[in-house]
């Protein structure tokens, strides 16, 4: 008949089997000699055992050591603020100045050479005339006289001088 495990464990307790050492043996005098051997085997730890070393470690910090964490924290916040300033400045610089305030742009646009080389490189004069006549800047008669001569074949693209484009 198989005894229930609970009975076996209880029986074991009653018979002294539940002791930590039950059923196991150690050499005589093992624990006494172990303590002596262990004490002798412990390495030196001056940082724990020397009062001078402990006092040195516990000495009050210098002023720099006291303020260092706050300095580091301030530097961190300053860095974050600088980054925010940079990113904010970049995002604001996307807008252009109004034309009437932009002296550089005005100078460039009044320079014929600049206009010829960079702005009106491939402007089609016929399209330009059509637009000017549509918006009333030019009437058809004065346009013909101003822009075309007998030497200019109709339909040929001409470079238009800036003085005829920009409002006077």
């Amino acid at each position: 008949m198989v005894k229930h495990i609970g009975n076996i464990l209880e029986e074991g307790r009653e018979k002294g089997f539940a002791k930590p050492s039950a059923g196991l043996k150690v050499p005589d005098g093992y624990f006494e000699s172990f303590c002596e051997r262990m004490e002798a085997a412990l390495p030196a730890r001056p940082e724990l055992e020397s009062p001078e070393a402990v006092a040195e470690a516990q000495r009050p910090h210098t002023l720099w050591q006291k303020v260092r964490p706050y300095v580091y924290m301030a530097a961190m916040f300053a860095g974050v603020w600088c980054m925010l300033q940079i990113f904010t400045g970049l995002s604001n610089s996307g807008g252009l100045q109004p034309m009437q305030d932009n002296a550089v742009m005005a100078n460039a646009l009044s320079n014929d050479e600049f206009m010829r080389d960079y702005i009106f490189d491939d402007v089609n004069s016929w399209d330009l005339l059509d637009e000017m006549m549509e918006d009333g800047s030019l009437d058809s008669d004065s346009a013909w006289d101003a822009f075309f001569s007998e030497d200019t074949p109709a339909g040929q693209t001409e470079t238009v001088s800036a003085e005829y484009i920009l409002p006077q």
């Binding site: 198989v2 005894k3 229930h4 495990i5 609970g6 076996i8 464990l9 029986e11 074991g12 018979k15 089997f17 539940a18 002791k19 930590p20 050492s21 039950a22 059923g23 196991l24 043996k25 150690v26 050499p27 093992y30 624990f31 172990f34 303590c35 051997r37 262990m38 004490e39 085997a41 412990l42 390495p43 730890r45 940082e47 724990l48 055992e49 020397s50 009062p51 070393a53 402990v54």
Partner: protein, 187 residues
């Protein structure tokens, strides 16, 4: 399980922090805890020689990391933790060396060690019980040993092993079932 009074534990902790008394206090710790730690280790690893080595390593590690013991936990809990970890590391190394799988019929080395030397005695029932315990998985064996042989409270076991009280109770229950099955198969 050695239990010292809370005030004695505090005194000992304070002496361990004092550079003048640290070494003598640690010697006191060795004398107090070497035997209970030894049996805990021995029941895990089987052989006296291995248990002796692991016990030495346990105290050397404790001495080496004494500044990490802040006194929040009991001294015994801290030492048992180190001892259990050292034992588990040893068993892991042995397992790799033996290349024995858990499902294998091969007797693990710690069981062979337990019965290889003449350091085992006792009645047939005791031997049967010890073989049954030795057949348990490592973690269950630790829990069973702590509960049955050291009569440790689940709360303290929980601190040592880092497992919840509920899981420990379940583990102990499973361990007793397995022992029952083992002994039933033997009879």
């Amino acid at each position: 399980m050695v239990s010292i009074k809370p005030e004695e534990n505090e005194d000992l902790t304070a002496q361990l922090r004092d550079p003048v008394t640290v070494r003598s206090a640690f010697s006191k710790v060795v004398r107090l805890y070497s035997e209970p730690l030894y049996w805990q280790i021995r029941r895990m690893v089987g052989s006296h020689d291995d248990a002796n080595d692991i016990l030495q390593n346990t105290f050397l590690k404790a001495w080496g990391s004494l500044e990490n013991f802040r006194g929040e936990a009991k001294l015994s809990t801290w030492l048992y933790k180190i001892a259990v970890n050292e034992s588990l590391s040893f068993l892991e190394r042995e397992k790799r060396r033996d290349a024995v799988s858990l499902d294998s019929d091969e007797t693990p080395s710690y069981v062979r060690a337990l019965y290889a030397d003449d350091s085992v005695d006792g009645a047939a029932l005791q031997q049967k019980l010890m073989r049954a315990i030795a057949s348990l998985p490592e973690k269950q064996r630790i829990v069973f040993n702590m509960k049955y042989f050291d009569d440790m409270k689940y709360e303290q076991m929980s601190e040592i092993l880092g497992t919840s009280v509920g899981a420990l109770k379940a583990s102990f229950h499973l361990a007793t079932k397995k022992i029952e099955q083992y002994i039933g198969n033997c009879d």
